[in-house]
Subunit: 325 residues, 2 copies
DNA sequence: TTGAAAGCGATACCAG
DNA sequence: CTGGTATCGCTTTCAA
């Protein structure tokens, strides 16, 4: 591993000059700068980020806190984050919290110990331990004192309910997610508003988690509890898919007997037969935009809006009935 | 942010003593060590890893190179990796290569610039740029000079072909994946062996990529090319699912008309109706075990086996016909 | 058993 | 424009 000293030596200048040339800071004569460049090339030198961040008290690393990397929504977010921060010369330290509150604290500590430049978090709580570094919340929205990027859950709830309402709804069941309590409740509120405006009666069905296993149990329970259900507004695509599977298993036809609308638009929704209609959230965009805001904060730029809400849209596929005239 | 100096001050000892106490290295009297501990607690001090790694020329970070984080196989691997390295006090720098060769090189450079302790890579090429740091290949197997953890692809290929062979195969089509050329070819070899032993005729169908979009196109093409196919050995679950969808869309019944076996066992396979029979790879284990080997290498321990092969197994679900007697 | 001091590799101030 | 040097926070000789 070459150091700046080696470069200085070979170029016949001081380390200070090499540093200036490297960072294009301060004055460097054309001649020196060429010598330095040549030396760098010859030695295949690249600066040690660790030394840099020790001095700057700030590294080129950004921490990302995710609640559950096996839910395909989050890898997409991560991809958006990565793409943006790579553009800006940063790298990612990943922290997969997986239900574990103490793990979250550990990660945040580790982030701090590594002088991360900032943190992006898609985990519900976090905020407390984070207050010492620049951070942006993804997907979750906590208070409007914090920076955040999330999609328009109320609108999403409305869209889902509207889609169902316009298509001979019959008995409607709204699944209410747990977890991201805030998000779930906002979505629910949106759905309820539409349902009530249309004077449709509906039932609520609460689900415990967004994990795979519990989704299958929940689907089973749902049909046991509401055997006559004709329209289901699911809390996310995993639940929607589970529900579809359970419906078909029971000999029901989708969408004729039961129609289903999901939430997220994960890549698998298209692969099902029938393919799942769902509220498409811009997962990648959430990550990308959040990273952008964070980078701007780190750079000390003024941010116009602290809380960005991205639009959602209904992706109509095969799991919804035909629209009534 | 407190430093070791603050601790030394408060404890009334020198920084050297604090350091020794911190690392339990060298001699520290009981009394000093207690004073230090108390000071650490009072100040809520935790050491700056950046300064540490500058001195040690080695950080508490491990780089992970992934080909495509949106393929659910890899998040599972990542989870295994994370769990193990967290146990050992390391954190993860993520590099999602996404088909992009130059990005891979950039990541490896960034890893080096951050003094990572080692690298885990699930990307085909990598090896060249990596030779300067301890690394372990995941999933892919290149040469047996390198450390690697992967599953038994040959066995997997055999299992898939056997499953099909035992169930009134009819016309068999074997999909051959691209990418991880080595893996694909080994699997293919395993399948071919079984197919030929059973004197079954089969067709090959090559697929370009493991991404979602191309999978759907491939599925369409497959049925256009082989309208009479009765058994499909898919190159992974995404392809298998696409094929199932396409079959159903064409009015074929699964498994009666067409039976399908996938590869990977990703969580969605169970959610389909019919659920997908597939060769289950221990994704989490691959990550976990690979991380374990890497940590041992970093610690300078002797590794018994350089190349670990994990077993695969057939998960029989609904997409296969009943077994012949 | 302890502390002073010399780095680790880079940056930035200050004098020249 | 350039170079010497203090500094970032920690570890590790080396002497005491």
């Amino acid at each position: 591993m070459k150091t700046i000293k080696d470069v200085a030596h070979l170029a016949g200048v001081s380390v200070a000059t090499v540093s200036r040339a490297l960072n294009k800071s301060g004055y460097v004569s054309e001649k020196s700068s060429q010598k330095v460049e040549a030396a760098i090339k010859e030695l295949d030198f690249y600066p040690n980020e660790v030394a840099r961040s020790l001095f700057q008290k700030k590294s080129k690393l950004i921490g990302l806190l995710l609640p559950d990397i096996s839910n395909p929504f989050f890898p997409l977010v991560a991809k958006g984050v990565e793409d943006k921060i790579n553009e800006m010369g940063y790298n990612l330290i990943l922290g997969n919290v997986q239900e574990n509150r103490s793990k979250e604290t550990e990660y945040i500590r580790a982030f701090a110990q590594n002088n991360v430049a900032g943190v992006l978090s898609a985990v519900e709580s976090s905020s407390n331990d984070l207050k010492n570094m620049p951070f942006v919340m993804l997907d979750r929205v906590t208070s409007d004192k914090e920076y955040s990027v999330h999609s328009d859950d109320y609108q999403g709830g409305m869209l889902a309910a509207t889609a169902v309402s316009e298509r001979s709804p019959g008995q409607v069941v709204v699944m209410v997610g747990p977890r991201s309590i805030s998000n779930s409740l906002v979505r629910l509120a949106g759905s309820v508003k539409v349902l009530e405006e249309n004077q449709l009666s509906y039932q609520l069905f609460e689900t415990e988690s967004f994990q795979f296993d519990s989704a299958q149990k929940a689907a089973y329970q749902l049909f046991e509890t509401f055997p006559d259900v004709a329209s289901i507004i699911a809390s996310n695509d995993i639940h929607a898919l589970s529900v579809m599977r359970e419906a078909i298993r029971r000999g029901l036809t989708i969408p004729t007997d039961v129609q289903v609308v999901g939430y997220d638009d994960n890549p698998y929704s298209k692969l099902m037969y029938p393919s799942l209609s769902t509220i498409a959230q811009p997962a990648y965009q959430i990550g990308y935009k959040g990273a952008e805001i964070l980078c701007n904060r780190i750079a000390g730029l003024k941010i116009k809006e602290k809380n960005i809400q991205l639009p959602v849209e209904l992706a109509i596929r095969e799991s919804l009935r035909k629209k009534e005239k």
